[in-house]
């Protein structure tokens, strides 16, 4: 079990990052990709003991990432106001939008997706740790 999880976790993380980054090109996006990434960290904590899991991502880092993720989302919307459009505008505010179908098209969506993916992953890890550590 431990050897399998140690082998598989990097692939799960890469798959999670792939789903997050290709949110505008294929099904998936921020929530599912973030959940996959978070699930990989929970898998480490479940198959080894909790200290190894806690070394991957500490409490302070998780709480910082959570707040930072949402603040990044909100500030992207405010940047759209500063650039001239309404709140959370995309092409109307001048975010760089390339050709449809490439990775770096649809400017603001990619930035928002990455922030929300980080937040969802850290939320899942935090929820897991709070429930488990609360029992002790």
């Amino acid at each position: 079990m431990r050897i399998t999880s140690r082998l598989v976790v990097p692939f799960i993380q890469i798959y999670g990052i792939y789903v997050v980054l290709h949110g505008h090109l294929s099904p998936g996006g921020s929530f599912s990709g973030g959940a996959i990434f978070g699930a990989s960290l929970v898998l480490v904590a479940l198959s080894f003991n909790l200290e190894t899991g806690a070394k991957q991502i500490s409490h302070q880092t998780a709480s910082l990432l959570e707040s930072g993720g949402v603040l990044g989302f909100v500030i992207t919307g405010l940047v759209a106001i500063a650039l001239g459009g309404n709140y959370l505008s995309n092409r109307a505010a001048g975010f760089p939008a390339g050709q449809a179908g490439e990775l770096f098209s649809a400017g603001a969506i990619l930035i928002i997706t990455v922030f929300v993916g980080i937040k969802v992953a850290s939320t899942i890890v935090t929820l897991f740790y709070n429930i488990i550590e609360g029992e002790k």
Binding site: L25, F31, L127
Partner: protein, 122 residues
């Protein structure tokens, strides 16, 4: 006869409504708290099934633009609604389960009727 053919044509909607009623009934009457949370999930999932059944177009592709082909695309709106709904349901489930863990530590039982008995005697 018309009603029977109406039911058979729209069986997705029928199943969604039946699941909704099962979920609501279980949530309100069964005593075990974890069963209530599961029933809430069933209820929310049935509404998502209803959304999917509404948005179905026969023979349509997933709503992502591919080069060249000029096919019919399915409606992307129900998909976005369901994704948001799933996130909301997961959050409520996570919060409810953590409340159940804490209640279990205080009262020693997962049975809601027993908890009401204990509360009424205090």
């Amino acid at each position: 006869m018309e009603m029977l053919s109406g039911i058979i044509d729209n069986y997705y909607y029928m199943v969604a409504i039946i699941l909704f009623v099962i979920g609501m009934y279980t949530m309100l009457t069964h005593a075990n708290m974890i069963k209530k949370v599961i029933a809430m999930n069933i209820m929310d999932t049935s509404v998502f099934l209803m959304f999917v059944a509404i948005g179905y177009t026969h023979g349509a592709q997933a709503p992502i633009i591919k080069e060249g082909a000029d096919t019919i695309y399915a409606n992307p709106l129900p998909g976005a609604l369901i994704l948001t709904g799933i996130v909301v349901a997961v959050s409520v489930t996570a919060y409810a389960l953590s409340l159940i863990v804490k209640i279990y530590r205080y009262y020693g039982t997962c049975d809601y009727d027993e908890i009401c008995e204990i509360r009424s005697q205090e």
